[in-house]
């Protein structure tokens, strides 16, 4: 298959409860793409993203994942007792990445609370910790679920910049989003 394609979902469908959330969705993400998932609350954006990420079985259709991907969901994946530093150190270890944690932390604006347990952090600081995982290891596909939530204005600007540079360096980004996007998308999928 064409190697520019980093992620392809064909004819995806999801059933929840007794109802069909969506069906026949086709997604193709190539290098440099930013694909926005739009739709009302409960329309199935998260579900679709999870199917693309391989976290849940599509009720119909198939997903090809030629490239590795990062996942940032609604939940940040932080434990109450973890500090931003220990969290990043942990996943760096799991992924075998040699990233400089302290550098990542200060990039993302968490230098001060780097050693405060997450249960004491502010909502935005938690979100930033989760987003910092993107910097631990380069992966060509990013799957982001409402990544801008809880971020302050320059936090949002920073994330937008991250996404842009990721696209510029041959990555692809799929993001579920509400309201106006701070970045212009290649394509929008509305559920």
């Amino acid at each position: 298959m064409n190697d520019a394609v980093l992620l392809r979902g064909s004819d995806l469908g999801a059933i929840r409860g007794e109802r069909v959330l969506y069906r026949g969705i086709c997604v193709t993400a190539a290098a440099g793409d930013l694909i926005l998932l739009r739709g009302a609350n409960g329309s199935g954006k998260t579900t679709l993203l999870r199917q693309l990420a391989g976290l849940s079985e599509p009720q119909s259709g198939t997903v090809e994942r030629p490239a590795p991907h990062h996942w940032i969901g609604h939940t940040n994946g932080l434990k109450a007792y973890e500090t931003p530093r220990s969290h990043l150190a942990h996943w760096a270890r799991v992924w075998g990445s040699a990233a400089d944690i302290s550098a990542v932390l200060s990039d993302i604006g968490l230098r001060r609370p780097a050693d405060v347990p997450c249960r004491l952090l502010s909502a935005g600081q938690k979100r930033r910790t989760a987003l910092a995982r993107l910097k631990l290891e380069p992966r060509r596909v990013w799957l982001l679920d409402e990544p801008f939530n809880a971020l302050d204005t320059d936090g949002q600007a920073q994330l937008a910049a991250m996404i842009e540079s990721h696209r510029a360096t041959g990555g692809a980004v799929l993001a579920a989003l509400h309201g106006t996007a701070p970045i212009d998308a290649t394509r929008e999928i509305t559920l």
Binding site: L55, S56, E57, G73, G77, L78, K79, W91, R93
Partner: protein
């Protein structure tokens, strides 16, 4: 997959066990509890105590396995850590195995180490001590592995606690019986072999089962 995820899983679940302390709750509570309770209720005749002691330790092991593991996977599911583990697929069952083993190490193994103390206090003859400790170690391992499967199965389900009890108990019984017999009869008894077999079986089957169950839970 490389080893690093497993090492990381081990370290993280160590700190988890340490952080939410539930692991330490039961050995400690149980030790203090028994030390205070048993003589209260039985009177101090060493002979009687020495016969109750082992049984109580088995009970402690079975319970600590159930209670400790109940939360482990549920927490991962709720805070989204499970999603992250699932991303690099394949590893999940290994990771789950490591997690349960770690929790056995933290909440099951201390009970084994307590055996001499408790045993001495309860007047267990020193000769029996070594086979007893091995028996507890192996039996506890089996408990924790099956307890982990039950916990993984019930992570997404409501009424987890009940389910765990229902699922785990039948799986516990064989290890329990062989274990008790071994503590009585020592190494050269057949029950030692049976216990080892049970343990190997659990080690072989449980991780895969946990992996599958967790995939399901994340859906």
């Amino acid at each position: 997959m490389s080893a690093s995820p497993l090492v990381a899983a081990f370290r993280s679940s160590l700190s988890e066990a340490w952080a939410n302390g539930a692991g330490l709750l039961l050995p400690l509570g149980f030790f203090a509890g028994t030390a205070i309770l048993v003589p209260f209720t039985l009177g101090p005749e060493a002979d009687l105590l020495s016969r109750v002691g082992p049984g109580i330790l088995w009970l402690a092991l079975a319970l600590s396995s159930m209670v400790t593991l109940e939360r482990v996977f549920q927490a991962d599911l709720q805070d989204g850590a499970l999603d992250l583990w699932l991303l690099d697929s394949g590893s999940i069952s290994m990771v789950a195995a490591i997690k349960t083993l770690t929790h056995w190490l933290v909440s099951g193994f201390p009970l084994v180490l307590l055996t001499p103390l408790l045993g001495y206090g309860l007047g267990v003859p020193a000769a029996k001590m070594v086979p007893a400790m091995l028996g507890y170690a192996m039996g506890g391992l089996v408990f924790f592995l099956w307890g982990g499967v039950a916990a993984a199965l019930s992570a997404s389900v409501a009424r987890a606690g009940l389910l765990i009890a229902l699922l785990a108990l039948p799986l516990y019984v064989p290890a329990l019986i062989f274990g008790v017999q071994m503590v009585e009869a020592g190494f050269d008894s057949p029950s030692f072999l049976f216990l080892s077999a049970t343990m190997l079986f659990a080690l072989g089957v449980a991780p895969a089962a946990m992996g599958a169950a967790l995939r399901l839970a994340a859906e």
